[in-house]
Structure formats: structure tokens, C-alpha cells
Symmetry: C2
Subunit: 555 residues, 2 copies
Amino acid sequence: MKTIIIGGVAGGMSAATRLRRLDERREIVVFERGAYVSFANCGLPYFVGGVIEDRSALLLQTPESLAARFGLDVRVRHEVVGIDAAAKTVTVRNLDTGSELTETYDTLVLAGGSSAGLGPTTGFVPTHTLRSVEDVDRVLEVLRSLDGPERVVVVGAGYIGLEAVENLLARGAMVTLVQRGPQILSPLDPEMAAPIEQVLRGHGIDVRLGTTVTGARPGVVQLSDGTEVAADLVIEATGVHPETGLARAAGITVGQTGGIVVDGHQRTSDPSIFAVGDGVEKTDALDGRGILVTMAGLANRHGRAAADAIAGIDPGPAAPAFGTGIVGVLGITIATVGWSEKRLRASGRAHRVIHTHPSSHAGYYPGAQQMAVKLLVDPADDSILGAQIVGGEGVDKRIDVIATAMAGHISASGLSRLELAYAPQYGSAKDAVNLAGYVADNLRTGNTRTVQWHELDTLLDAGATLVDVRSPEEFTAGAIPGAVNVPLDELRDRHLELANGQLVVHCQVGQRGHTAARILTQLGYDVRNLDGGYLTWKAGTSPSRTSATAEKEAA
Amino acid sequence: MKTIIIGGVAGGMSAATRLRRLDERREIVVFERGAYVSFANCGLPYFVGGVIEDRSALLLQTPESLAARFGLDVRVRHEVVGIDAAAKTVTVRNLDTGSELTETYDTLVLAGGSSAGLGPTTGFVPTHTLRSVEDVDRVLEVLRSLDGPERVVVVGAGYIGLEAVENLLARGAMVTLVQRGPQILSPLDPEMAAPIEQVLRGHGIDVRLGTTVTGARPGVVQLSDGTEVAADLVIEATGVHPETGLARAAGITVGQTGGIVVDGHQRTSDPSIFAVGDGVEKTDALDGRGILVTMAGLANRHGRAAADAIAGIDPGPAAPAFGTGIVGVLGITIATVGWSEKRLRASGRAHRVIHTHPSSHAGYYPGAQQMAVKLLVDPADDSILGAQIVGGEGVDKRIDVIATAMAGHISASGLSRLELAYAPQYGSAKDAVNLAGYVADNLRTGNTRTVQWHELDTLLDAGATLVDVRSPEEFTAGAIPGAVNVPLDELRDRHLELANGQLVVHCQVGQRGHTAARILTQLGYDVRNLDGGYLTWKAGTSPSRTSATAEKEAA
């Protein structure tokens, strides 16, 4: 038996090594177009920044080490240029010699990943992606050749774009970040992304939202806002799409997402051909539809599952994709799982929104950091639809707990009952995740009613009274226009000062507001608590791209 | 309506504040025997060590702040000395004046917690627990009165004992740690605890295992090993038992564990009396039996549930207790959930054992730390029975993920399919939790067979051959007696050198051993992989108390 694997990084190499452990006698051939296999693609930006100092640390395996340990026949710089599914052969070009050969297979694994095109700066300014070791070598060659300051345009403010920004900043580079959409980090909702954008600007990054690269002259990048930016280098960190040319040519079904369609065991429409990794359409955990998720964890898991199926053992139940993701930039950790509010709204799916701002660990123990948590909940069954967390310490822990809860079908209210490890340096007796569950439970039972930051104006326009229950000191330091200040501890004595119509109460993060809402509700008022308090409102209404652009024009 | 709450810390105060938010008009009276309510009991050891510098940080609320915000009638230094359940009254003694009063209630909440007795050193050496603010004040008074080095005996090597040790060490104290059992940290299995014990000894702690305090003279503590230790202070960190005197006297049912029996909504055998916190028997998640778990998180959760039930709203489903716990000591984080192997064995429950030693994050990114993971699995249905993790960074995250998986009834193999957040500074594409799931899946399917460190001798005595597949350098640096060294990458060429009977293979942590076992199995050998590799074997067979004692005697 002979299995050919096209692509020798995460998914392909997981399939190859697992298959060898399952079947010592099978012939396993891996063709990799690039010069390296099994490299640390998620580490590439950090080599640019010097965080990873040793280039060899990126090369986890070599063809030689894989031959010695796993008896794999790994051929780099070999590009598969055609598949004859009927004959079960592939045509392979040796990129060094140009010669072609034909290899037969019993089973074939497509693990070609995704690719990104280069924009119109190509030919005028050195323009590269950060997707291979060769890319990084070229980027560093450009940067090291410079005498003066490094001037770099990063196109795309997603995960890789922000990692590039952080690492360029570590080199002392001057960075312009160009983002087509109206916010950075499009997996986030805008009020979660805005504070991060402010931090980037605070570090001197020139963030251009709602902007695209339109052209270039030698050493100059032209933008859709009509400006020009002097640049020694452009890093393209956007526009990834699945590599499906070979699959399409071989008649394999490709889905509407543009990814190869597979069954729960990674088998394509051709029973002898499997596919894993970025090139493959995943099944969305929330609606069961096809979705593209380009994450290394899924690629590895699916590589293993394909190997199991090829070897004829049970690969376990198919697990859908939640799209769990995380990125660190300039001391901030940003993590998401499931759907955003934007996406829920766009698809017309009912949802509840919860914003909290809990501590990473007990407040009485030094070093606690505040994080912003957003939880999306299905009002029909209290199931968790998604979460976004932005902060420092412990963000990764909370997103993993929520991702696990989603996989285990634990309800949003059920998060309050999770028994999480507590000692003061690690968490709180009521952990950040528990607290989100408590709020979900209060919404589920109708114990509290909330209003979102973007709904506030409508309520105020309709005559609602906004009551800020923070301290006078907090109120003076910055308040929502139109709010009256009645501190929580005075509310029982002073509530008669308030109007009798709709009340909206708020505090800094939502917790005192909840207590205030409970007091006023029981006193007979019609009350809503501003979800996430002043902090979420402030983030949601922070100066937008438009006003930032206006400032720039005025300057 | 009037609710009286006995005990004003975690569970009692959660009940009180939640009840107020649910019912603005109810009379709520809290009696607390001590001088403080709502203090940070889990922070007390860190105030001794100076990590928490400001004493007021320990005092989260005062009677005044609770009156202002929550309209609570909180009376400190008031001890409830009797309950008349038929008359629905309590008798309360004012500890400052000695006067007694009787208060009626509609509902009563017992939140008196647990207590610990003081040993035979009392009266000869200042002897205190670390359970209240007053305790810590007294401990610091003793320590600050000393001129020379602080000589402290800590009795009990559990969570609080180790936190005391760390903080005493931070003060420069000379510490003797006396532990009745044969290992420190009895929730752990011995091979998980042994490396921590070595670290304690390395920091100069005099660890006495299998030892008790038998008596004292002024300034001297006498131990069961016949030695005497000069001591300025004894800290008792053992022997906690539920406070149930009031409950028993009132005819309320107390379980075999010694804790008050409650239903899923914290109601005792008297329908007007609820109980929460350390004094209450919890329901074990694994066998549904009563169990004592003295954790602040559960106390808070149950306080809230009791308030819901008292207010007549649905407190949600009862959630059993997994006993999730965590402690940090000298840079090591130790966390557990569920049952240990010791406990499973003692109860005769079938189990599989898995040891792994994964990285806290991607190895190619700087700063990754190795952790030791132990997973206990039910062979009948692949459910997770428990986990223990010892390491540095990220231990808290992994135990919380596993605790959440257990709550969500995710199987051990299912851990491999969790979609956890990966960027190189936070985790790995195959996260530590995923890896444990992969091993579980290999055991479930019979793809691998393992042998535990404590089973090795029996197999070797029966004639098995032990094959160390690590590199010659690793073998030379330290090997298991009797092992032959055949590096993994040479195994396909050299397997004919091996005997034909039972083979046991091993590497450093178990991963190369697994590949070796797969190769040899397919070559027709009868092979087992040493679970957890050399590291787990080394930890399990490290010099025991006995030999440590022998060394001491020889010295």
C-alpha cells in the first residue's frame, strides 16, 4: 500500500507520522513544494522580531530526521502539478531540475494549505507574505539591507498582521497598518477591537482603517485614502484562500466557501483522496454549514483523523469547528471562539449579549489585570454562541474554558457552576468565567434586563433617564452625556429624585449597575442596566475611523 | 420575612448579598463570631509573607459597607450559641459584652465553615492556624517580636501548609514541615508529589514525612520520630473539620462525612434551614456520595443557590463537586481535579493511568516550561476520573479545561478534539490537553499498551527486557537499572538484538517510547511502553522518606 501526501507542514505531516505509527509497512511519500517541511509557521513573525533568535528553532523536522524516525520519503522542492484520479497517479515536478515524474498511489492526502496573493506594490516595493521560511528569509534580507530606519507597510490587521506589527515594532521599524474594513481584527466586534486600536496608535503605529493599497511607485505605497506612504517593505497579511487548483482539476468537489469538501473522516468526493488543513472546508459547530478556519490545531487534528481512516481504524467522532483563535500584541491578549455579534446579526440569528470586565485573579493579590469579556448567548436555549476576551494574564485560560464548555454543550448559565481552580494568584472564588455565567443566568431568568451601548441613544432619545450610580469622583472623571449621578449606596434614599419613566442605570463595568437595577426594579421602576457599564460604552463610542481621519485632515 | 445567616465570610456573605438583590424588603441579619466579615481567607498566608502588603486589602467589606450597599444587618463578634428549630429562633451571644439575645427567623442559613484544633504544642510554643484575620495578626505579632531568625514548625503539608511554607521562606524563616502521611500534598499521587518535595528540600525546608507532633517544651516541639525542633511558632495547617455543633444540637441531619446534609438547593433536613460552605457535605461528581470539599468557589456558588431557593426562584440544577484545587509554592503550580489513583485503588474502582510531560507552549517560542500531567480514565466508558498537573506556566489553564470537560461529560479521548486557542506564546497546535487525549485514545483503541512505573519491577522480575530508546547521551546521563539502550531511530535496523519475550520500551517522557512500541508491535513483538517515561519512573522511585530518614541518621 502506498500513500502520497501533498504538503509537508501541519496537517500533512501529522497525517504522515500518524499513518506510520499505525502502519509500519506502508510506503509513505510526502511532496512539499517549499524547501522546508514541518516548520513552525506560527513562529515566523517572531523570528522577524528576534523573539525567536535561532532560525533552526523554526525547523522542527528535516527530510532526513523524518526518514530516520518515521521511514518517510519526504521530497522538498517537489510540486505536484496534476492528479489523475482515475489512474491514481500524480505528476510531480522537481523545482530544482524542472524534470517531471509520475507516482502511483493507493490513497492520496491533499494538505496543500492556503495561499495569499501579493498586491499592486509588487515590483515597486519589496512585497512578501509571512507564510514560509523562505518568506521570512526574504523579509529579513530586505530589512537587514537598510541603512536608516525600517519603513514597513503591513496590509491586513488580522492575527498575522498584528503579530507582524508587534515584531516590526520590536525592531524599531516605522509601521503603517492598512486595513480594508472599518476596524482592526475583524473576528472581534467593534467595541472589543477599539481599545486595541488605541494601544496600537499609542505605540506610534499609523493605523489606516477602511483603506486599501491602490498602487505603488518605487519606494512608495499608494493608498485608497489618497495618501502615499514611503516604504522599504510591504508585508501582505490578508486575502488567504484555500489551495484547491489540483483538487478542482481532478474533479474533487469544492464547496461554496472555496474549500475542499470532506466527510467527517476527511475523505473527499473521491474515496481514495483525503484532504486536511487550510484547504479544507470545516463544519461550523453552530449552524453545521461549511466554513473556512485556517488554524494549525485543526490541521493537526484532521491530519491524524485522515491517517486513522486510511489505516482503517476508527478516527473517532467528527468534531465540528468553533474557530477558536488567539493573538498577542503589545502586551494585550485577544481571544475568540464561536460567532461574533456582527456575524449573528448578519445571519439574523437571535442572541443575547453580555459584557463583563472581571479580574484575572483575586483583586487583593498583587498584579491582577482587568479583562473585557463578551459572551453571546442563544436566548432560545441558553447555549453559548461565542465569546471574545481582551486583556492580559489569563485571557487564554478563559477562552479555552469557554471553548471546552461549548464542546461539552454546557449552557451559558452553566458557566456559573463550573468548578474552576482557585488560589489568589490564579483566579477568583467567582472566576471571570463564573461571573459571565451569573450574568447569563440573571438574563435567562429575567432577573435583570440590560441595554447595549449601541442601543443607549435610542432609549435616551425616547425620553429615558440615565442614572450613573458610580461615585462622584468617577462621574467627574468622565461620564456619559446626559447622565445624572446618584451613587449606588445613596439610591435607596434618593430614588424619588428620579423620573418615573424608563430608567437606564450604569456603573463602571456593570456590577454595581446590576445591584442598582435590582433595587429600583423592586421599588417599582422600569429599569435596564447598561451592559458592560461605562467601559463598554466608552469603547463602543470611541473616536471612529471617520473622526480619526478628520483629525488627520485638520492637522 | 426575615433571614438569619450564621457566618459572614464566603458562603454566608454570598447568600446575604444575593438574597438582598432578589428581595429588597426582607430583613437579613448576619451573625459573625469573628471581628471581620467578608475577608480574603485565601489571602491570609500571603499577608504573612508580605506579598500582600496592605492589611486592609484582606478586608473586602465591612459591616458598614454592607449596610450601605446591601442593607444588611451585620453583627460581628456575635456567636450563635443555640438554634430552636421548632420555635424558629436563635440565641446569640455578644462576645464583647457576654450578653445574650434571642432572634426569630423565617429562614436560617448555616455558614459557619470549618475549624481546626490546635495540637499539643499549645501553651509551650505560640501555636496558631491561618484561618482568620485575627490568626494572622497573632502570627505576625509573634514573628515581629523575635530578634533572631524565625524558627517555625508548620504542621500539615497540604495546600495551606505549603502556602505557609512559601511565605515563611519569603520572610527568611527556618521552616520544619511536619506531615503525618508518607508524602506531601495528599490529594496527589506519590510520583506527582515527590518532585515537589525535592524542591522544598532544595530550598532548605526540613521536611518530615510520616511524622506527627507528639508534645512540646517551652520553645521546643517534640516529634514522633524522636527528635526535637527549636521553634518560635507553630502553624497548624491540618485537621480541618466541619463546624456542625449547632446543627447537631438542633436535630439537623449530619452525614457520615461529618458534614451537614443538604439537598440540591442547600436545604437541610429542616425545611427552614439551609447550609452552605465548608460545613456542608457535597455530592461527589464521580460516585454521587457525600464528600467534604473545603473550597471557596463552592461556598460562593452554594451561597447563591441557597439565596435563590430562599427567595423562591429556581436556583438552577444542582452541580456535584469535582474537588478542583490549586496551590502555588516556590514557583511550582500544583492542581488537581477529581479522584487520585490512590483513591481509585482504595475504592476498588477500575482505572487507566496516563502520564505525560508536555510543554506549556510551543517549544520553538522562548520560555516554554515542561509540566507533568496525570490523567485517570474509566476503562469502561473512557470518562475522565481525575487529573493532576504539576509545573509552572499554564498549569491552571489545563486543570480548568479538564474540569470543564468533566462537567461537560467530554470523554478522555474527546480531549484530543478540543479546539483550544493556539499561538506560540500560549500553547501548542497539539496542546497539553489534546496530547493527553491522544494517549487516552490510543489506550482506548488498544493502539498502545502501557506499564506504570510501579509495575515495572514485577515485569522485569518475570523476565521482560527493558529497552531504553533515548539517545546514548541521555542513557549515559541516567538510566533505569537493567535497561539496554537502542535509540529509536536505530530500532528498525537493530531490533533483532532484542530478546523475543515481553519487551518494555521507554524514553524520557513516553512519546518516543510510543513510536518504538508501535514499530516493535508491528514487527511481532509483545511490547509495552513505560507510561510517562524515565521522568515518571524517576519521580515514582525517588528516595523515599525511609531513605531520607536513613541519610539523616547516617549524617
